[in-house]
Symmetry: C2
Amino acid sequence: MIKETPTLEDVARVAGVSRATVSRVVNGTRNVDPQLQETVRNAIEQTGYTPNHAARSLVTRRTGTVALVISGAGGGSDVFVDPFFGRVTAGVVDFLRTRGVHPVLMLADTDRTRVEVVEFLRQGSADGALLVTTHAAESLPARLLDAGVPTVLYARPGRPMPVSYVDLDHQAGGRLAAARFAGIGRTRVATIAGPLDVHASQDRLTGFREAMARNGFPYVPVVEGGFTVASGAAAMRRLLAEYPEVDGVFVANDLMAQGAVDVLLAHGKRVPEDVAVVGFDDSAPALACRPPLTTVRQPVEHMAAKMAEVLITALDDPEERPRSVIFEPELVVRASA
Amino acid sequence: MIKETPTLEDVARVAGVSRATVSRVVNGTRNVDPQLQETVRNAIEQTGYTPNHAARSLVTRRTGTVALVISGAGGGSDVFVDPFFGRVTAGVVDFLRTRGVHPVLMLADTDRTRVEVVEFLRQGSADGALLVTTHAAESLPARLLDAGVPTVLYARPGRPMPVSYVDLDHQAGGRLAAARFAGIGRTRVATIAGPLDVHASQDRLTGFREAMARNGFPYVPVVEGGFTVASGAAAMRRLLAEYPEVDGVFVANDLMAQGAVDVLLAHGKRVPEDVAVVGFDDSAPALACRPPLTTVRQPVEHMAAKMAEVLITALDDPEERPRSVIFEPELVVRASA
DNA sequence: ACTCTTTTGGAGAGCGCTCTCCAAGGAGGT
DNA sequence: ACCTCCTTGGAGAGCGCTCTCCAAAAGAGT
């Protein structure tokens, strides 16, 4: 690679045609005489030509990349400890690669980084944004919206606004859990909720409560956790102290459920015989947990893929109106309930 | 955002100066009269100007992004199930963000995708590549090398070649495990290795064997696994069948160790009383496992951050020769051994 | 007072590509 | 045979930015 990287011009010279013709062959736009095409192809081969991305995107106004913005709760790089983000990433990558688009990963945890994200998009470093945020108060959706950046959210925005998103019917998930407890005859049921400034947590709780009420249990003790194993354990300890006769717990994600199960076992309770536990998400820890968790499945990978699909579609047709796609949860019965 | 996005030209007109001056203010190159600077800043503010990334990188030949290429064993999007890749990503992102560089995520699992990766880099869509690969036979390092792409690997290349990399002293890790078994007086020790076409697996095994031999145990039963929970479980079952009196197992990663512990418990063995288990990596599952795993810590995040640092340095000084940075493992004692 | 250096702003040439506009040639209709 | 329409290649104008080269102005030295 001592030589300068060859340009269209070089190929054109070698092939004895104009720059335009080479461009047409490379991009497959318009008809080019098959024989000429052949000549050009050879010239490309011979020179080892690769189109320059910057030059191309300068005129096409497209980069072929999208920003995958993760606005984690705690922020920092810890976010990847939660299998959730790994699953989102997997789903997004899986879809995008079929379209030759690549995600650039960005964490938005501070105001500074949020500004950077908006700048990044405004200067056209990526064609659009996929925003995975948990907090309802997140300001990024609004900022991106009025920077005119094509955006799709994972989870509905904090305040209603004209932006596309995919989401899960979290309330239905809560109902699924309640139905399970009813099905196995549990009557002293409590719940460990996620952070209540997160829509998803709120909805899971609401759905659960309402279904429990409909089943004849107007009051369900609630303890708030932080979506981590440790916070689940702490919540379970508090719950056990206040409500020792509990025989069923709905925990708002699998990580916390794992912490809860640990505490339960440590207190000599059998799971599910003494206390049944239903988790949420159906992520790796649910399967790894002993006993394996009965949990409400959130099809994160599919949802993430759909999110990417919605963005790509919007990119191709800027006139399209915002769309929302809501997924249905599903109860996965294993050993814990 | 009805208006066209403003360009340098627009700002220059508003400020009543030349394009060059605005550029100088924006980039802070050369001296510009403070008062003029002020005027320009106002004009920028007023027009809402943001530099166009494509145009800039067309002339600077820099994009401010690097490719984070994951060439997973099984490939596909499953790679993120393994906490390892999440940790790498976290470490990389964590370092890059301090330098205003963003990673674009690419999976290379098929030959087609490998070609795409090389193309991507050759057309200057990113300034360099961070390559995380497990398999020794991976062809990407060589391809990137002779495409002249600045590259840093996680783990040494399959064949020696002039490329930078970070790695762990896996043999030392194996020795650490052997020392632990010696320390707790285990005499009937076996090991579950990782896939043997992976350098790291080989080295862990070699280090372990040699240390065991030095401790007076010339032969250590080996079963090969695939770095997944299920493969660890299967391996443990085989081991138990062939070698029922085993009282210590060194497992080449935590995921497999978890599977092994499950099987051990299911067979009525107590861990660590009957069989001590030492894992490798010290990732989330090690902590979540019951009992929590004694394991050899691989500082993945630090290593990944270092990998990013080496790349950034190489980007700034293209004359620099390839570097390698080897990290030392560390034994983390928990309950399982 | 004059020349020599240093500082600072402007002009303009690209960076490599796409795409519109033209022109030339061939096909088809009358 | 002529005219029109369609197909296909070339010319060249940018896309928005950086950076080198100049020139003008300001400061320094004698």
